[in-house]
Symmetry: D2
Subunit: 424 residues, 4 copies
Amino acid sequence: MKIEQYQIAEYNNSLLKAQERNYSFVAEKVNNVSAVLKLLQEFQVAIPSWALGTGGTRFGRFSGAGEPRSLEEKIEDVGMLHALNQSSGAISLHIPWDIPDNAAAMKALAAQHNLRFDAMNSNTFQDQPGQAVSYKYGSLQHTDKAVRKQAIEHNIEVIKYGEALGSDALSVWLADGSCFPGQLNFRGAFQRTLESLQEIYSALPDHWKVWVEYKAFEPNFYSTTVGDWGQSLLFTSKLGPKAYTLVDLGHHLPNANIEQIVSLLLMEGKLAGFHFNDSKYGDDDLTVGSINPYQLFLIFNELVDGMNARGMNHATDLGWMIDASHNVKDPLEDLLQSVEAIMIAYAQALLVDTKALSAAQQSNDVVAAQEILQQAYRTDVRPLVAQARMLAGGALDPLGMYRQQKVRENLIKERGSKTVATGL
Amino acid sequence: MKIEQYQIAEYNNSLLKAQERNYSFVAEKVNNVSAVLKLLQEFQVAIPSWALGTGGTRFGRFSGAGEPRSLEEKIEDVGMLHALNQSSGAISLHIPWDIPDNAAAMKALAAQHNLRFDAMNSNTFQDQPGQAVSYKYGSLQHTDKAVRKQAIEHNIEVIKYGEALGSDALSVWLADGSCFPGQLNFRGAFQRTLESLQEIYSALPDHWKVWVEYKAFEPNFYSTTVGDWGQSLLFTSKLGPKAYTLVDLGHHLPNANIEQIVSLLLMEGKLAGFHFNDSKYGDDDLTVGSINPYQLFLIFNELVDGMNARGMNHATDLGWMIDASHNVKDPLEDLLQSVEAIMIAYAQALLVDTKALSAAQQSNDVVAAQEILQQAYRTDVRPLVAQARMLAGGALDPLGMYRQQKVRENLIKERGSKTVATGL
Amino acid sequence: MKIEQYQIAEYNNSLLKAQERNYSFVAEKVNNVSAVLKLLQEFQVAIPSWALGTGGTRFGRFSGAGEPRSLEEKIEDVGMLHALNQSSGAISLHIPWDIPDNAAAMKALAAQHNLRFDAMNSNTFQDQPGQAVSYKYGSLQHTDKAVRKQAIEHNIEVIKYGEALGSDALSVWLADGSCFPGQLNFRGAFQRTLESLQEIYSALPDHWKVWVEYKAFEPNFYSTTVGDWGQSLLFTSKLGPKAYTLVDLGHHLPNANIEQIVSLLLMEGKLAGFHFNDSKYGDDDLTVGSINPYQLFLIFNELVDGMNARGMNHATDLGWMIDASHNVKDPLEDLLQSVEAIMIAYAQALLVDTKALSAAQQSNDVVAAQEILQQAYRTDVRPLVAQARMLAGGALDPLGMYRQQKVRENLIKERGSKTVATGL
Amino acid sequence: MKIEQYQIAEYNNSLLKAQERNYSFVAEKVNNVSAVLKLLQEFQVAIPSWALGTGGTRFGRFSGAGEPRSLEEKIEDVGMLHALNQSSGAISLHIPWDIPDNAAAMKALAAQHNLRFDAMNSNTFQDQPGQAVSYKYGSLQHTDKAVRKQAIEHNIEVIKYGEALGSDALSVWLADGSCFPGQLNFRGAFQRTLESLQEIYSALPDHWKVWVEYKAFEPNFYSTTVGDWGQSLLFTSKLGPKAYTLVDLGHHLPNANIEQIVSLLLMEGKLAGFHFNDSKYGDDDLTVGSINPYQLFLIFNELVDGMNARGMNHATDLGWMIDASHNVKDPLEDLLQSVEAIMIAYAQALLVDTKALSAAQQSNDVVAAQEILQQAYRTDVRPLVAQARMLAGGALDPLGMYRQQKVRENLIKERGSKTVATGL
């Protein structure tokens, strides 16, 4: 299933008149709208390979159909999303689910779709068939040196796969922790994890980074060894300049102020980037922007402000990825909704009158500060996002076109209705 | 693997001297210790069939070994636990995981182990092979009448299996709900669920009850259609006198005062009983008493007080069951720890000086009220619990004996190390 | 400080051109825009007298200046807000802070400002000078009959004040609960509270209602006797048809799905109305819409849908009130922001394509359901709200005009800078 | 009101027989019981001056009677507590509530009661009469240099008062933060706070420490500038070796694993000490051990283990203080209950079989690890604590003796019933 340029052009034509009207209305209110459009066009969100299939919970999984059966098909799916929205120009692989038998061929295929390979993800939270020792009680933290060694070697192997594909970052999420008081010596677990990470760190190619993700709870339900941003920062500070802290929106305790965390990590020069999703209760992995879009905007406001303060390139200096689980939606539609929500939040953040905000903050005019933020947030920026997309060759309404083209029906025809993509 | 009476007696002999010393120390402080022992002996906690195997999370499962491969073996495992602790004299089945091909034979086998069949559990949160329609978007709440009909019929079938086994309650936990705002019309979902429950209710045999369990979240991450005790009570009130609300310790929002809920449900005559476990973050399904044993005691304090106020029989008028998931422990050891924690909390609650407490409450002597509760809680009641168990024919230290007898090693020899019990 | 019609007209003139452009852009997209404008104009949010002064926390209070020193000045302040936004046409009084010495004069003053008297609020969470017995251990729940009697009589007195002013509802928020396990017998507290409420209920005039508010925690930190919607509904069901459950946004446990609660209470015909505010951690009493505006929209979506389903009048059949605490903002500016956020959420809810939503729900098209809600939410409805306000005689930008007119500076001149309004 | 040694001896005599029996029962089970008794005797918990009076919430305060009216009376009250329990041998002052007019006299008075002066607490969360600039928008974070300067100078003044009294630590809790998104530039607030702290740090005498306390929320309800342990550690690491992170049990987001935080801070050599209390919802400031005593034990288990690993002196190398608010209890009784709960948790932690625990952890025997912890926790250690206290000259049952001696009644006679101690 491939969507051709001419199809997109045709589709856009049918919406063009309305778009022009909507765009000109909002563009008139934006200072330097061309700069905004340019930033929107440059911004790309990586799609993780495991998000292309239907997810599930521990209580069950209700599979979808027409899901990708191979790495090739995963690349094709992301390519199709990118053709539609021109904002999904990267794919993030997970080893061992996505071992490339022929890296050169995969690179070529990705290039055809204008995709690059984002961070590589290792997996030491599951046992694989034929594995020598088990991760039941952790991996990099394990009391048994043999388990740690196996986990370290796996991570180094993931780096090698990534090098062959042109990736330049290793993303490490550890399920390591404990389910019961007493199970773990916290200090021992920290030290062993640190030593394991140091071995992995020393295997990083020169231009590579390692991202250390934290998570408050699940799958361990008493403690997690990289449990919050403070712990991750302790690890990445001890590791060295190539180590950064990765933030996943759903990995916090209730009510955490994530935007403040983001701001401080940026200040310290230690923010790796983001795993986007949304949640109400825990790591619910819902569609980005589906539960609390204002929070997403506030996070982007900190990102834009913090990156500008450090002269960073919005599009390339941090890692942007969706990490969600699509239990009741078509995964590709969910991804289109998620990318759209991200672009909207980013656009709103770009509209914030930072000079006025800074003045209001300076004089503690709290009412004005709120008005300034909400002025940007309440603006309907969808026409801006659509315009940037159209200019880049994408569809004015990616989800609309996806449905119009009956993409899912076509994928089912091609791949069958009993496919189950690898992943959670 | 069967543990014989003579083995228990032998084992107890080795601990008897210490037990006598410990028991006499605490017994001397207890008024009417023989009544306490009698209550402890009568109290039985049902073991759910699915808790006999190693559980997992959505991120993976690390299987155990020697797990039961059939309903017969499940009954044998519970029988063995009951032989050890004399407090696990019931088994709770889950359909379709435990469909009894020969109900009479199962009844006879259970009787041999002095077990009865507790509430029957239906399952409409997973699709089964060959099922006509899917529960992806709910079961009793579904907008499609065919799905509701299938789910209703399944529940009625579960009742029939239960009747054949001598059970007298249907336990209904619904995963029904929604993952996203807009997905569900809350009122419509409530009304459809009510009508479905009414059909099931009307199929209940005369002496049967239906228990409606609530849960705040998971596997749906935006709304749950029976989401809290208020919603469950609304359903059970509308259903009629055979319908009761079931409380699972892990099914609440953070910081909920569960003991108050228990107290009010008892006051309304609508408490079905309990699913015991413990948790720190959500429905973590950890060993009972492993995270917050004081909360467990406070709940038992309300149960004892509330049941006494209504002249209820502690052992038989409510349903008591463990509902946990054993991801990193031997499931049978975990169950022994859980039952022990329950018996300890129950024993502590029996020691509360209710007359003094009532007087302190009447005069708002908050300091004294706390002292009275903590006087009971801080007492080391383990010798009382052990004494009751020994008198009933159980082992003084069930977990100790389980390990001494190398039960797991023997089960692995019998059943192999690649077994995976049905369940979550 | 009074704002005259001609001043508003003048002010609006300066903004009219932009408003016309903005309004016509959005109006074109709205079906039946005149009906929407009419509903927006009718909708009125009551201002509580205690929100006119600067609030504080237990750690301190940083007073404002120019705050109202009397009931007259409170009425004038609300009148001024209403003149600006034409959506604050009611005031809610709190006894004993607002005892009207001359009810007829107060009624006349309110009428001059086009204000009516909303629900009357009683106070049994504080002791007043000269009070016979103390509420330290509760009021309607108290074990001492004399305390209960005093609290009942206070509530009846509040009804009488309300009758004289033309109010028709008593709003009861009880701080009653306990700080420590053991302090309270939950069932006893419930029963005593019920009996006390029954006495108050029997003193209600024919056309009056009583609203029973619930709150999860604070100022009691272990249990609250009307702690959640289930408990409140239990009370209001036992009381009778004049009793309703009042929802305050900040009175829930973390992550509660408030919109579902609202929907079910409406379904049961037992929703009294709303206390609006916003919060991140607890009963933070922040400006409405300042933390999670999407939640506010989802609540309004349920309100509109549920009221329509019962043929209710949006403006008059439920109670709408702001209940916030303004610690770091000018209280009047905060109230203007809060009313604006409410009107925006209401307008967005009115734009939801309910027919399409219902169809998406019926077919479990979760993606479409989300799109339909977010289509309404992402629309910039501020020009609609402003248009309705202008047509009703209010200012296009109430907050802008408040600042342009230097209202606070004028109030300080009139009233001094050391004023402290009564309230929390 | 002073309690004399002979009175204590007399009181103890009446309980001696039971104590001997209880003590010998438990002592027999403890290895090296004399070492345990010694550690228990050495352990001292500081009493903050503000905890001697009745607290309140933002909704009101129900005052007690007989409360201390001066610093002298506060020292006398703590002296009386210490006479009873021999575990409260320190007082922690708060400036400006406790400015000592005559430091030498206060030192002498404290010495008479065997008390030392623990950490000094500054207050920049309230405005004081006559203060030049306001802390409404923060103190050390303030955008206005004059406010920061005032706050810095206040802290330096507090150090000077402390030096005169023989204290050696400054405890800084900052309410600084924001109530609304946009109000604060997080990075700016961090940097200004850091610079302010650096100025205070440079004024520390050689042997002094500064403790930087963190708090998740309240009184600011959107962000707090020292909001979690990660932020505090960032500050204390940048400040230098005299700066440490202070943990208050109630200052976390829901479900935080505090014991893990404690363990890591100890590992980093950056733990200042503890503010003890208990809570269910937020910073509820309830009696220590009244809500979750197992958590308290788990924390002490980490403290003991972590201090032993670093060869630290339990009694003197960290700061131990109660920080609670007594709204419905006699404050002195509450403090006696709190100290008792601390001593019990400490004693239980001392009983943990650390060698066996370490072996169980090494082999991932999770069941055994839990058993080992709970073996210590379930032991009734009250007779051990009482024995240590008696040997040190304290009362076997401090709360019992307090009531027997009618202390509160006597204090009311001495001081009157309308006293209100300074504090929250």
